[in-house]
Symmetry: C2
Subunit: 292 residues, 2 copies
């Protein structure tokens, strides 16, 4: 029997814990965490993510400050907004929904978010701290998707040390921080990507395979070792016919399920974990501020 | 014929170039770069490194500010010194020779160095910038040893993209930044370490093998693929007999040389490159300041 890594269930557990902790914070300090959600333009996928994040934040008792901007605003205007949010005492986390329209310099925007309110963990100083830290310190602001993947892996109650982990994709959002996290768990870590030669063969050597490359169902049965653990980060919309589309991951779930020891589905795997980790980061920022 | 990666020769070329650039800077701005070298205590190996760095800096025309402190000074005193150096207009680079005596919190000290004068590239914000950058941007402050390794590799005039690179060791000083650099060169990157299972087998799959684990002559002939490129970062002192000792790398040079396409010797390989890259970082910091 293959173990299905039910992200929805694990995320619910995390959110329930968080709800309790936020309740405690409220009782003790008369203050709840605040999350500013910044969206530019109306890309459908971004709206879906923003709505899901907003809903989840409210459920656990986080105040949401919604900033939905037209896509004709200027880089400078967006920076001004972030500066305001940096100084707003009620805001503990700032989330800028990516991708921004192509006219923006995304990294410059992310660099403006004060590291203390960096709910996504993308600021260079937080990226650096994650790299330097010897352990996966729960008080760091860690990028949400890879940290969500790690928490899913921990559900398995399998020792990660010494396992061969292969990560497909080298993005700043998933691949690179995922490598840092798994390295701290003492995995042997390999990053493969579009320029990799014999990618299938390398994936087949993996005890833990994390697919984060954004190619629908790229990972097939013969890419996977018997008994491997598969984490699917992909969220790809594919057309079934002229009318219908569906969401699939970077892994061919039905095929790979037959060989894997454990696998995360899409949807309902990594996605809900990402959101739970965003809420967690917002809570941590708030708590750190109150405890100073 | 195995190609010997002559770090002394390559470093000399780099230093000669740098000397010319510093001369230009001096003519144009009436200013030369300044490097503060901070050593705590009298560990023999540290004194050797500090002397070599000081000598090389002076050779290329960098002003050296020498701060040799007793090992009974306090964390606070060292931080005060660094704060002074941060504000000293003549200092462009600050080098704290590691390791510090065990009584010090090393990372706290490194975090105090203003990122602009971070000659070693160990500050979290510089670590983060290196991770985030899409290319190996020559204007970043990159940790000296791994950047030196990359410059040695580039001497070979072999395309790095798609090569399997295996790095032995996951330190913040070498292993992790080396992975970032090789990933940006589009290598497929694997980090192995003390917890890795079947380390020999993984090393044997490497087209490029970087050994940075501090174990004398760990890498043997049967760890290496025919035609691989070997970079040896290790500097280990071993006793030959009661009177004599010698310096060896992490690679058994004589054995591995027979199989490698190219190999860096110890001494005379990575060591001189590390120093050249330290000088380069100091120069870059100075230039950036003057061009503002």
């Amino acid at each position: 029997m293959t173990y299905i890594l039910d992200g929805k269930k694990v995320a619910k557990k995390l959110k329930d814990n968080l709800k309790g902790e936020i309740e405690n914070l409220k009782n003790k300090y008369n203050r709840v965490p605040g999350l500013a959600v910044v969206q530019v333009g109306n890309v459908a996928a971004s709206s879906i993510y923003v709505n899901a994040k907003t809903k989840a934040a409210k459920e656990v008792g986080i105040n949401v400050f919604d900033h939905h901007l037209q896509d004709n605003i200027k880089q400078k205007d967006l920076i001004d907004l972030i500066e305001q949010l940096n100084y707003n005492d009620e805001v503990d986390g700032i989330l800028v929904q990516l991708p921004l329209p192509k006219t923006f310099n995304e990294q410059e925007i992310l660099d403006c978010i004060t590291p203390k309110k960096d709910a996504d963990g993308f600021h260079p100083i937080n990226v650096g701290k994650l790299s330097i830290s010897q352990k996966n310190d729960e008080n760091l602001l860690i990028p949400c998707t890879p940290f969500g993947c790690l928490l899913l892996l921990r559900e398995l109650d399998v020792s990660l040390a010494g396992k061969n982990a292969v990560i497909i994709g080298r993005s700043n959002i998933v691949g690179k921080p995922m490598a840092q996290l798994l390295l701290k768990e003492s995995c042997t870590v390999t990053i493969v990507h579009s320029k990799t030669v014999e990618i299938e063969k390398i994936c087949k050597s993996a005890d833990i395979l994390v697919a984060a490359i954004g190619k629908p169902e790229l990972v097939k049965e013969d890419w996977v070792k018997d008994g491997a653990i598969i984490i699917d980060v992909g969220i790809n919309r594919v057309q079934i016919n002229q009318q219908k589309s569906k969401i699939v991951g970077d892994v061919n779930f039905e095929e790979v399920k037959r060989k894997a020891f454990a696998i995360s589905p899409v949807p309902g795997g990594v996605g809900p974990m990402t959101i739970a980790c965003l809420l967690r980061n917002t809570f941590i920022s708030c708590k750190k501020k109150l405890l100073v």
